[in-house]
């Protein structure tokens, strides 16, 4: 039994050791840019990836400014698509499963927004449909994929690929979870740091950022 546990953790460790650092950095900069222009972030995926998307949205929206909520009237606006199960089933039943993300995305999409697409295979048709819609509108796409990256890796502007053997869903999704938490932590630490600097400036009577 212990071998099995060690084997699994080794796979996760290998994937963690090979994180695409530059692409994650690029994603963080894209997210900072969307904050600067007060745009919105749409995130989606199937199954476990949808669960990751939902988990991330709740963390990201709630905790990034949690240090000093009252001092930040502008906050991130992350939205999981579709926003309700009712919409999900309505789009799937009435239009088709390949439109469950692209359909709601079209409702919301503005030029100042950004998309995070999560797919372990990088090949899910409904994810790709929504990514194509974003690309058509010149909206930046952060693609979080696994295995060989698939079509999502090809289309994304920031290509976060957790490269593994095909079918390693557990490994890929575990590492995706870590990357998403990294994004939340980064902005939480950043805005907390900035707040501290601004407090010092206020004390000295200088104009804050």
């Amino acid at each position: 039994m212990s071998n099995y546990i060690v084997e699994f953790s080794k796979k996760v460790q290998t994937a963690l050791n090979n994180l695409p650092v530059n692409e994650i950095t690029k994603s963080l900069n894209l997210l900072e840019a969307v904050y600067e222009r007060d745009g919105r972030i749409y995130v989606f995926g199937n199954g476990g990836s949808l669960a990751l998307a939902t988990h991330w949205v709740s963390d990201f929206n709630k905790t990034v400014f949690s240090h000093h909520l009252d001092d930040h009237s502008r906050r991130f606006q992350a939205i999981r698509l579709p926003t309700t199960e009712e919409e999900l089933t309505a789009w799937a039943n009435d239009i088709g499963f390949d439109q469950v993300f692209a359909g709601p995305l079209q409702n919301y999409l503005h030029d100042s927004d950004i998309v995070i697409a999560i797919s372990s295979s990088g090949a899910s048709t409904n994810v790709i449909e929504a990514v194509k819609l974003a690309k058509k509108n010149k909206i930046p796409v952060i693609g979080i994929s696994g295995f060989d990256g698939g079509k999502l890796h090809e289309l994304a502007d920031a290509k976060i690929l957790v490269r593994t053997l095909k079918g390693e869903y557990g490994v890929v999704e575990s590492v995706h979870g870590a990357i998403l938490h990294l994004m939340t932590n980064y902005f939480k630490d950043y805005f907390n740091h900035l707040w501290t600097i601004n407090q010092k400036k206020k004390k000295k009577g200088r104009r804050s950022f």
Binding site: L30, R37, H110, L194
Partner: protein, 334 residues
Amino acid sequence: MIVVRAPLRISFVGGGTDLPDFYRRYTGRVLSTTVDKYIYVVVNKTPLIPKISARYKISETVDRPDQLQHTRIKAALLDLKLKKGIEIASFGDLPAKTGLGSSSSFSVALLMALNALQGKKIKSFEAAESSCRLEIDLVGEPIGKQDQYAATFGGINIFEFKRDDSVNIIPVYLDYKIRLEFENHLLVFFTGITRDASSVLKEQKVNINKKMFTLKQMADSVFEFKTLLESGNFKEMGKMLHQGWLRKKSLASKISSGFIDQLYKAGINNGAWGGKIHGAGGGGCISFLTPVDKKNAIRQAVKKVAKSHKLSGFKEVPIRFVQSGAEIIFNSER
């Protein structure tokens, strides 16, 4: 109606090597960052008013684009074959001609807005290249290409200008700690003097043959600056700026002046590691890289110099670096 916002930029090293007379012989390189000061361009269709209206420092209303005084708007409308029923207005966080690339930020925003008005969204290379074409080829400005690229892409980048006219972008990735430290070590002042980049650049262009060696040094120093920046070595970066200042001054007589020299000396004498005058020179903005505890002394010293020259427009410009490039921030045509 469409509103496009494009950031201004501060370039640190390599300015001048983005001119074709240089980069057609040797790869030009510039390291710059976009800042939280923006140019806004608003365009609107007026189907019931068959005129062209342009509102900037002045207001023009004409029947045909070729009657406009504003060279960039005129050239863009003629090129895009937009004949009438359109109004264009621009707004800026800072005055024009401050050396922070505002005219190119305007061009990028204008072209993104006019294209979007016709249902075509342009971004990244297409937006940057068409802005270069507008300013350099159609209007005939003797300027380089760094500003159009900086305004389009946003963030801290090295732009490489290749012999074949292509541009390579190398992003400089910094985490927030170094970025905030960098901001904290930087002081930027608007001199209160505005000047046209063209007059300085025309002289610089003529001088390019004589100055090839200096320009090569400037282009090559970009990677060293990047390495220092990535490790947060602001002192050495400041010293590099000082070297760059000395080199840039040797390029054209109009880059500096008695007043600018005095300002610069005031900064250095009060503890700044180095500094530079922004844009083509002759006025605009001046900035210093400095130890944090010397900032107040420098502020007081440069203000004194400005006062002695009766420059009421002289003021500190608080800036933050931004990641965003030119973006459509409102589009009612969607």
